[in-house]
Symmetry: none
Subunit: 244 residues, 2 copies
DNA sequence: ATTACTATATATCGAGTAG
DNA sequence: TCTACTCGATATATAGTAA
């Protein structure tokens, strides 16, 4: 049905979970996430955490030190216990595993891959992305700090536009709230996690009251995709959009 | 929106991922799943698997032996490589972690909608529901006093059954404790909030040592669903089951 | 080519305990 | 109480190698 624009991921494209990470730390991080440390700072003693995980207090202490040193958690150890919050890197790490497992377990197509051609915008993408109120939400919701600029793509196959938009409209995506300052109002934004050229992580984002048509995708990413992928206007780029 | 019938999970209800399982094995199992070993037997050498994982060939060999011994994979080691398939236990283990992460990362309430056909039971649903020890717990845990009877549904699409059951088994649901009186023992029951035909609130409930197969759902509700929805045997009913 | 054994090195664990 | 150190025990890794 979606033959041309949807593919099952190839094995080689699977999201890597290792990245030099100690497997043992995963379970500690997972447990901390269960305890809510993704969204807030939690207060817990190494003893009680040890009991939950099934390790000794000493081992947990060592692992927490290690996690903090590796930047996967932010931690303050006091005489009363530990204040712990999973860092952005830690959340990304857990999310990679989550996305990997989701690909394994969810049968239905979870992603749409579209082909588009790079074109230059008017630079207003950078303007919006770097608005602090948007930026904060991007970091919170997407797990990365967006490079201040968007990669604009015009979808190549015009016949696929309607189908793509139907899908993207149907799914709630990730909502970024609007806001207003004294000058004007900034509308809400909807975005989806995406994988660009099979390797760069990012998100497609719309619509900041965009004046672009529905054949245009605006992509944000933690890094400058033009540089990272060596792109210039007119180049063809594949974007895999994750529906949820 | 669902404030009245849905609750955020308490920490204690989180899906356990340890269950005495060696964390190190998780990554091997994950990698095998990435390679497709959930759905088919794959052929791979310990050397190439070692390269993918970042371990030595010897360690992978040992871990595969361990995984097979623990029943998480089925394996045949030959001179040409290993034929590996993840077993049901292995899949359940991975799925527990997947669902745990899904609860962490997906904010919105998760539900599964299934289609079933009404059939008449033997009336023993009413017998159980109206047991005062069960009834008190239903009122406490579900927030409604169940009509003394169950609506029995046989799931229409047999392909959905496995996935549905995997999810319902993996999630803790809402536990109703068993009890005993002088005559016999009544087992514990697990239930999930549900929405029937998009409008009637209720819950799916299993298993009171049910003699029904895994393709059957028993639905309870504050009102008689047969009357309220004008149902008769053979009618098709949609039930949205809320996982937490 | 494989798998997987044995031996040895390394890493991780928990006990005891200091701050 | 806490955290987190040292240290000896245990577990897990890799090297070498047989089959």
């Amino acid at each position: 049905m979606w033959g041309c624009i949807m593919r099952r991921k190839k094995d080689s494209e699977h999201i890597s979970i290792k990245d030099g990470e100690d497997p043992k730390n995963f379970f500690i991080l997972y447990k901390l996430a269960e305890l809510g440390a993704c969204h807030k700072t939690i207060m817990i003693s190494t003893t009680s955490l040890a009991r939950e995980i099934g390790l000794s207090q000493q081992s947990v202490s060592r692992r927490l030190i290690d996690l903090a040193r590796k930047g996967l958690i932010e931690r303050e150890a006091t005489r009363d216990g530990s204040h712990i919050r999973i860092s952005r890197n830690g959340k990304e790490y857990l999310r990679r595993i989550y996305l990997g497992l989701r690909m394994i377990f969810e049968e239905r197509a979870l992603s749409i891959t579209v082909e588009g051609k790079v074109f230059s915008g008017l630079g207003e993408g950078a303007y919006y992305v770097s608005k602090e109120q948007y930026r904060r939400q991007f970091i919170e919701a997407l797990g990365f700090d967006p490079y201040p600029g968007t990669l604009n793509l015009r979808i190549t196959d015009s016949r696929e536009i309607a189908k793509l938009r139907a899908e993207l409209d149907a799914y709630p995506g990730i909502r970024i709230n609007g806001f207003k300052n004294k000058d004007r109002t900034y509308g809400p934004v909807k975005c989806f996690h995406a994988l660009i050229e099979g390797r760069e992580r990012g998100a497609v984002v719309f619509a900041f009251r965009s004046h672009y048509g529905r054949d245009v995708l605006e992509v944000i990413a933690p890094e400058c995709l033009r540089e990272k992928l060596g792109l210039k206007d007119g180049d063809t780029v594949h974007v895999e959009i994750f529906l949820y």
